[in-house]
Symmetry: C2
Subunit: 364 residues, 2 copies
């Protein structure tokens, strides 16, 4: 964490140090938060963030207080920091940074949530959050460790599941190629593809270690290290029948390489473009897009929130595969307070994480 | 025509000047042909072509001889002149240039085709062609003028019909935008969209004259002149609800502009990219392709040949609309021998034609 970031108060100090509704759980009186201070140009810098502290709020009628234990870090966050309309409103300057979180209910005036229950919600980069329950889901920590509810059993697992099976219309016998394959979404995409009967699953990732993990523990048929290999040539060998489903998390040159190897009627799933999110010049469009015409293929964007009504069913299926040992969930858990968030986020763009990147915080 | 192009013979002179099977129809003894001499870089030059003459061939058993009257000129031809795999084999150096044609059977040893019948076939840029009937369709000149069978009732009409209704999945109430709107395919796309109940049809074309034709005779709701207007801004006004189907014939900057105005769940049909076919540097990829993600839209390539089994049904429907006066077919017919083909082809890339560009030849 940069020494330039220090805590500032956004409210009067809390004069009431504890609240009887907290039901015995130890609750600090201070809520540390990370707010967006400026819209970044390129990679977010420490001056784009502001650390604040304010009194832990007290739930009113119909509200609960959640003590956040784990915060999700996602490439899409970079987009939320930009101004302008997208599939979701931008985070406003001065707002607590938006993030998926899991935590425990420590006080409740909400009839549907009891103290001691664990929940998932987009509660932001802070230690405590008030919620009226909108968009908050209960999670069962006996089913999987809490960080898994931000990864394979959370939004990234949902993204992999619906992106591959619905948007990508993957069917038995397909050759599936996924970029960002050692990341949270990509690693699940490849494993679901194998479970669902893909004839060949190829992952593209950065570095030999990630590639070995893909073809070893995760059972991918082949892996391409984009840092040391010519992806276009490597795809010729790794996907000799051509690509039926290409699941793209990265954009840029790798998307262009995949376009040269499409089978007829291929489906490209546009899930993200991490190589382009910090571009300060214009995004690099896929110069080989006319391959879509030649091969009668499609390129389709997907946003996971559209599938909310089917999350429970998908999570059940994913949890079943995990129980059977057919689906491996890996989380890269960084320990630290909310002040560790900015530096941790950069790991994503530097390709340093393997699996789902999560920040584990502990209230002071 | 360039004076550098002169006829050369590819075969021994014909010693047998006429053939009894020609059934009384006057058939020249010489077949003039246009062959590919070199693979063009950028716009085709006269040195990329070779004029040849050879004796008019005599049909063998199961063959017929067609006297070609009209030759289709299509943007896709530029792609056929390049080396390398595409949706169709390239024209080889020295081959007669591939082209869709209509003509009359003037001699036949084929049980399915009689002398005097009119046919459509990809018989090439020449005056006469032998055929075994593969891919040759009979056309009825009482239904429409012969050039129409290269346009609205031919491959361009089929492209418009299946691209809009199948690939683009256009439905009633959609806002449909088409580029290259005054061209052979685009002008039919917009009219079919109106017939099928689009709430708004917007054409993008070059020049005020074309735009006036679109909003006047053809009944488009709006037209954008890309030569004098900012397409992105103009689309905001012309398609205020966003674009549901964008039918793209041009690629480049116009595709990028359309991407900024997609409605949620939009379908982009990639039919061609005339702005890029003569690019000597790499093709310009659509920099705004991440709009597909934001709007959950798709971009899909189509090739008309895939719909061959449904051509008859579609042609019947199109012919019906023409009879009812709801669909206007316009052909830009250039008169000349096969030697006029190279210069005529350039009209397409200079945006000079309105409607379907056809070369009408008359055997010497």
């Amino acid at each position: 964490m940069s020494p330039d970031l220090s805590w500032s108060s956004t409210a009067e100090p809390a004069h009431e140090p504890s609240n009887p509704k907290h039901g015995g759980f130890h609750v600090s009186t201070i809520n540390h938060q990370l707010r967006l201070a400026a819209r970044p140009a390129g990679l977010p810098k420490h001056t784009d963030w502001q650390l604040t502290e304010e009194p832990v709020p007290v739930p009113g009628d119909g509200q609960m207080l959640v003590a956040i234990s784990h915060i999700s870090l996602d490439p899409a966050m970079r987009g939320w920091m930009n101004a302008g309309a997208s599939y979701i409103d931008p985070v406003e300057i001065g707002d607590v940074m938006r993030a998926g979180t899991v935590g425990e209910v420590v006080a409740s005036e909400h009839p549907g949530f009891a103290v001691g229950e664990h929940v998932y919600g987009a509660l932001g980069v802070q230690e405590y959050a008030l919620s009226d329950g909108a968009g908050v889901l209960k999670v069962d920590p006996s089913l999987a460790p809490l960080p898994t509810f931000l990864g394979t059993l959370g939004m990234t697992g949902m993204t992999a599941y619906f992106g591959l099976l619905d948007t990508g219309r993957m069917k038995e016998g397909d050759t599936v190629v996924v970029s960002g394959a050692a990341g949270a979404v990509g690693s699940v995409v490849g494993q679901i593809a194998k479970i669902k009967g893909a004839s060949r699953v190829v992952g593209i990732a950065g570095g030999q270690e990630k590639c070995s993990w893909l073809t070893g523990e995760l059972g991918f048929d082949a892996a391409i290290d984009y840092k040391s290999q010519d992806v276009r040539l490597a795809l010729r060998e790794a996907a000799p029948q051509g690509i039926d489903v290409y699941f793209d998390n990265v954009g840029g040159e790798i998307l262009d390489a995949a376009l040269t190897r499409l089978a007829r009627g291929a489906r490209i799933v546009i899930c993200g473009a991490i190589s382009q999110y910090n571009a300060t010049e214009s995004v690099k469009g896929p110069a080989n897009y006319l391959a879509l015409l030649v091969t009668r293929s499609s390129m389709t964007g997907m946003v996971v929130f559209d599938y909310a009504s089917q999350f429970a069913q998908a999570a059940g299926e994913l949890a079943g595969w995990m129980r059977e040992g057919r689906l491996i969930s890996r989380e890269d858990v960084v320990q630290g307070g909310v002040e560790a968030f900015p530096q941790t986020l950069l790991k994503l763009f530097e390709g340093e994480n393997v699996g789902k990147l999560v920040l584990q915080i502990a209230a002071a």
